[in-house]
Amino acid sequence: MNKKNRVENAGEEKERAQSVEKVSAADIDELLGASAEESAESEEKSEQGRENAPKEQATERKKSFVKGGVRYDKNGREALFQPFTVKDVVFLAVIGAAALITSAVMPLVAQIPIFGLPQLVTGLQMSLFPTIGLMKVRKPGSVLLVAALVSVLELFMAPAMGVTSLVSALVIEAVNLALFRGYKKDAACFVSGMLINPMTLPFYYLYCLAFETGSVFFRAAGDSPWVAVGVSFAVLAVCAAGAGLGVLISREIRKAGLMKK
């Protein structure tokens, strides 16, 4: 439906593009005069697109419908999977940016050959901020969305890390759905927030094995896998502390009236 209306691909616009002339600052007045008319024109076109959207919704309404930003199922009950609003996406992105900026130390420690050390160093912030995000948004898929947003940088900087984050986010979402069916409860936010970093450890281990970098890692740790096991438990403990702090902070700022939907 939208394909027809998507002006981006329309042949008509391609023709118009060819006829466009470069503008200079001196033409501002004329441009403003012209732009008002063009605005009305483009508004009409886009409005047609928007009008089609409700029609589609109307046909879908037999199954489920969205009212006041909340999706309901065919029986009128609140659906498990809620749509993300602009506010949700922006908040989760800002949370992702906060986690990223406070984890800037990771590339440095990544060079130290101890299994799990990068996760240990970033555990607190990588659990604290996403937990705050979950406590505010409380929609299934939030962990996956944060991971997808953050992994864009990771994918280019260290492809393995980006893929690992995405896969572990998927596992966390599955665990959440199985145990809590969403993030309505604070405990659900805590568990998912806590697991974000430790969940990457098994995948990291597989990566080390796959590319034979594991041997060097373990040898540097003193020929003993127990060091790796110990670090893994430490990661879990640090992440639990981070997620706990995230829950506490969220409760406090909710009390201050800042966690409005």
Partner: protein, 475 residues
Amino acid sequence: MTAVELKNVRFAYKEGLTVLDGVDFFAEYGKITLLSGMSGEGKSTLLSLIAGIIPNMVEGELHGEVTVAGASVKEMKTAQICRRVGCVLQNAELQIVFDVTEDEVAFGCENLAMPEPVMERRVAAACAMMELDPRSKTRTLSGGQKQRLITAATLAMGQKIIVLDEPLANLDKEGTHTLMTALGKLAARGYCVIISEHRLDMVMAYADEVWNIARGKVTRVCDRRAYFAAQAEAIVNTCPAPEQSAPLLSLRGVEKSFGKRLVLKGIDLDVFAGERLLILGQNGCGKTTLMRVLARLEKADRGEIRQFIDKKAGRRAGKRWFAQVGVVYQNPNYQLFMPTVRREIEFGAQSREYAREIIEMFDLRELENRHPQSLSEGQKRRVSIAAVVASRPKLLLLDEPTVGQDLAGLQRLTSVLTEIHRRDNNTMITVTHDMRPAQALCDRAVFMEAGKIERTGGREDVKKYFEAFAPPEER
């Protein structure tokens, strides 16, 4: 022709705070309409109503009729309203998503599904109008340029009704002129421009219509000079002039630059113990940087700064220094962190008894169990001043302390600061744009321009300084 009309509008936020109470207002195409009033009186709320932010994005109880471009906002979704009304919000820095100016300006056009050639023209026109280089990096822009960028991003969308919420906050004289001239051009082409601003001196000369908002009502201003004079009514000074004293701080040839921009250009200044020094000047003249250098929050690149406050404090900006030097930030949100107002004030206070006294003096008893982050901006400001004052600093630095205060609150705040000054004989340095308390917080004034101290003077000079901004009768 009427573009925006409000009839008997009442609005209360979800928390129960009634901001607009029976408002009748209109704005026409072809005119710049100025909405004036003190912070916290509801200017932003009224603009949010016109832009459809209320009731679509901010919940609350809305009564009455709000009509925008002939349609009721209650019947429109944000996506529809934003095609009719362009909205420029405060805090430009927090709204920039893209790295390059033209991408940021094009964002709104992309959302309106404009064809690429149209977008190209709009982006070029909006950038030219706001005097921006389309290829420049957004991160390197100054505060004023960022404000102009966000304005350009809205103008490029091409709506016929433009609302701007305090757009001059980061603009200097030239920046203001650029923006207001551009808006004047739009108005001349039949656009409806609505601008909210409390700095009348900067915008009144450009406005076609002036409305005042106070205590939930909006009234049309007919006699501009009388209105301006009433707004500028100064609070009377009640503090006697200080006796001649030794310097507390002495600056010689102080320079400070950020990147290639030299912000302070050889400042020579003595701050005397027990005096109240007022720093005045246009946006971007270096007032806040000077204040930060005095507070040791920034290091001067060149020059000598000698302090006679505490010999043991040395040159470090440590705990000992800040025990003697109280700094009140322009934005109180950074300085508030305790779970209740009472504990916030007790945190740095000399004793619980003194904290209690401060709570009473600042009229915060009713708020003492509230979370500081839950307060209005004006209340937060009062709490942050009270919390800093409670530590009884010898030197008190106040950056725009009066923002968000109504006249009664302002009078009270000024008298409390004066009383504390008289009692503790502290030294106060205030940076302000607000003409009302300026004379009452001043024994001596420093007038800055382009990073230099142009001259110093007394209360009479402060009065003349603000009078020079009085607007002409009509545009």
